[in-house]
Amino acid sequence: MTTNTSVIGKPEIRKDAASKATGKAQYTADLQPEHAAYAVLVRSPHHHADILSIDKTLALQQPGVIAVITAEDIPGLKTFGLIPDQPALAINEVRHIGEPVVLVVATDKASAQYGASKVVMEYKKLEAVLDPIEALSDVSPIVHPAGNLLSQFNVDSGDLDSGFSKADIVFEETFTTQRVAPAYMEMETSLASYHPDGTISVWVSSQEPFIDRARIAATLDLEVEKVHVLSTVIGGAFGGKEDSSLAIITAIATWITKGTVRMVNNRSESFVAHPKRHPVKIHLKIGAMHDGTIIALDGKVWLNTGAYASYGPAVGSLLTEMVAGPYNIPNVTIETKVVYTHTPYSGAMRGFGSPQAHFAIESAIDMLAERLKMDAVEIRRKNILQTGDTLPTRVHLNETALGLEPILQQASAAVERLRKVKAKPGKHSGVGLALAMQSMGLGNGIPDNSNHRLEWLPDGRVLIHLGAADLGQGLVTVAEQITAEALGLPFNQIVTSPFNTHAVPDGGVVCASRMTYLVGNAMIAGARLLIQELIDQAATLLNQPKDQITYACGRITLPDGNTLSASEFTSRAAEKGNPILVEASACFPYPEATTPQHLPIGMPHVKFLFGAQVARVEVDAELGIVEVTDLVAIHDPGKVINRLGAEGQIESGVVMGIGYALYEDMNLKSNNQWINNFTEYLLPTSLDVPANLEIQMLEYPEADGPYGAKGLAEICTVPTAPAIANAVYNAIGVRVKDLPITPEKLYQASQIRS
């Protein structure tokens, strides 16, 4: 691992920026096939109902309508998912508002919409359960036959009772968080074509195209090789595009009509029918000593996973690992329940349970500090994890935690500095901080690898056959920079192929803060193989001993001191029909010797990221309006690969966190409809971001990370909400324990106090 890098760390400009700036970049809904039919869905208007009948007759008579498709028309598996409980099209029963029921394919959008309006549905409304605690009761309506408790996770370490009995102070609190939407700007969309040779190709806007491929194949009862999944430019994902539903449905349409079909979810469909962040209730009981040492923590967690499993169990297990926060607590018991309800389902979303967990623990530790009359920084310093500590999952923390103490130190300095800023007239100012921890990787027991290929092109450039999709976050740029560094080539000598499951290996799902680590290591491994291949070729061609040929920066050096450019050999290899092409793979290490094996699949995680954010707010106490004036984000990505990209992640994570803290809430309205549009669901605008946003990046390298790099994408949205909640308390003495912090809640709380 080099400390002096020539490409890594530079703010290289991503190569797709110009085409995006000019509007030339083609997202899936921009693709212009010669002919494409259009399909729309008839969706459930009810939380929970039996489907009594579906009458397609009138719809089929409408001009332009090609097909009206229901679940019975699906040739293969009718349900899909990690836990395959989710029907592509509803079967006899609907379990949430917006669930897809009938698929109408027509020659154009207007005809499809009109045709869909003519499908005659007969439902019998059934009692619905919307709250997870109610869903666990004996008398609750049933969401799935196997029971409303989807999964449960238990972690125990130490002796909880003993811990509480020794504690000087015990306190408990309950925290709740709301349902929020990833709200990427590009709605879900798919474009599928049927080919005369019996194959289909499906364009998807997805984080998991290989999984989509497998699910499409299973749905259509096709061999996987007959399904090609392609990806063009993606307009954001944030976890919400770890979901195959629209890809599968579009593929069904194409298979049955044997034509090309396009589907585009509109914004309101995107709200109700694609994964959300889990609303969560966390009850914490904490035992601590007078000096601030936390010695016991009992956590009970309920996740409202909605109508279908999606990645609910995985979120539940990761959240479980985060409940105790970045603290060394000897006696910990956590029980997490992931519960079905008749609500739009939740799944993967940036942070994957960690934002919810940290809202609870970081609020609780501030509350504990106040009871003990300790400073918020001091109590954290007393308890933070250090290298070598054992987590409740029995994982020994590696040197990745070295950054935590300096992070806290910098946070402390930021707190001091911001406390000195005077409030504007009529406002109350407050400063709050929060630490954060985020796991990397999919977790023990789940294949966690990433496969790509590297090809040395005839002209000396290197082509990455990237097996994963760039969601917009800049994965391609990171891969290219690392490859360039590993080969000693300039950044512009590296190119990346378009994505097609037929042409690239399986790079894995883009998720879990793992792609920089995995893809980076894959590129480094591949680069080594590439260099080796090159030297072998040179040795063979020139009849020179391999071990006396060296490579550097695109050139090989022969024993006699002569150098030749790589293209001399790559061009010859290509002419011979044998281009220099190598595997570039990496996997996430869960060494058996050191990875605890006693937990369910997906647990534990063994690598972690740490960070902190400090928020300064000014509160208009009379109206309850909170303004975040300053936000200092302190993060440790191990090694900054691309500064612009890293800053961009943090800036967006902070703003997403502000939305989570103050504005966003996908509520059920009084008319029994979910909030499903941007008039009512309030994303932060350019006027709703802090006037001063400061980023401090530390680099405590991950020993086996590519050039020491770890990850960044999720953790930057984890501490924001608790930092703001702590700052609000500091400003006006009101503790909001259920997100979002609204003026209404602050007003009600101050009424109760007076």
Binding site: E622, T685, L687, Y747, Q748
Partner: protein, 290 residues
């Protein structure tokens, strides 16, 4: 695609003729009616009348102490008008708070009034200015005080065949101060949770000669608070007075619980906003005196 006919009116006369059809509605900026039609939140007209060619309905002018604003004047035009900056700064603040730049480039003052949302931002300042709307039909023109024009949520007193052609108000007297304040849930693109506008005229002795107090989002329509106005008239401005006015105002407003806020919070924040607005307006009026 919107499901309806679109009829382009080439003149105001033609407009009145098309308007005779009961299911015809004017499409001005489109920023309320088009989303409303897509969401099915309004009764769908069968014909939309595109009035974008009627440039004669877009103007701001002053004549003998009266300011007239054509109905098709966009919010963007309004907020950069030197005339309005001088004589109706509260109206400018209100229109500047509507939607986004894109919305304001299309949305019109006439549209804002005729859409008649309880939260319509332009209305409270215009109520304080005692604005009058002119309604034109093919053979008649009548003036209606703005306070009588909006009669319910989304409802105006426009009759079949009529359109709103312009809004008028007298240039406020000297020693007048105004204020507009709006409470929204975020800074950008916000819909009013509560809004208030006040107009205060101070006499030689520094007492309030007369006051106009209006609110948005606290009743089925934007309204004037006569109780607050009465409480203020003839009195000396003070924090105590403003607090009393805020108390008396409560009987004039009747906010609901909705997605954005509860009734209770609206009652409370209307009072807070009013006191702040009165503070600002009186201060401005006093400055005007010197």
């Amino acid at each position: 695609m919107i499901d309806c006919e679109v009829n382009v009116a080439k003149s105001c006369t033609e407009l009145t003729q098309i308007l005779i059809e009961p299911s015809a509605r004017i499409l001005a900026g489109g920023t309320d009616i088009l989303p409303g039609m897509r969401k099915n939140s309004i009764i769908k007209p069968i014909t939309l009348i595109d009035v974008s060619q009627l440039n004669e309905l877009s103007y701001i002018c002053e004549h003998e102490g009266q300011i007239d604003i054509g109905a098709l004047t966009t919010h963007s035009k309004l907020i950069t008008s030197p005339l309005l900056l001088q004589h109706a700064p509260a109206l400018i603040d209100a229109c500047a708070s509507i939607g986004s730049t894109q919305t304001r480039n299309r949305g019109t003052l006439g549209g804002n009034l005729c859409n008649a949302s309880p939260a319509a931002d332009s209305v409270p300042p215009l109520l304080c200015l005692e604005a009058v709307v002119t309604l034109s039909s093919h053979d008649n023109q009548r003036q209606v005080p703005l306070s009588d024009f909006i009669i319910g949520p989304g409802q105006t007193c426009l009759q079949q065949g009529e359109y709103l052609s312009h809004i008028s108000f007298a240039v406020p007297q000297k020693h007048t101060g105004t204020s507009f304040m709006k409470l929204g849930r975020r800074n950008g693109m916000s819909i009013a949770v509560v809004s208030t506008s006040v107009l205060i005229c101070i006499d030689q002795n520094g007492n309030i000669e007369y006051a106009r107090v209006a609110f948005g989002s606290v009743a089925p329509t934007p309204i004037l608070s006569h109780h607050a106005e009465t409480a203020l008239t003839g009195k000396t401005p003070s924090a105590q007075l403003f607090s009393e006015a805020a108390q008396t105002m409560l009987t004039d407003i009747n906010p609901i619980d909705d997605l954005r806020a509860s009734r209770e919070y609206r009652l409370h924040s209307a009072g807070v906003l009013l006191q702040r607005a009165l503070q600002t307006a009186c201060h401005q009026a006093e400055m005007d005196m010197r």
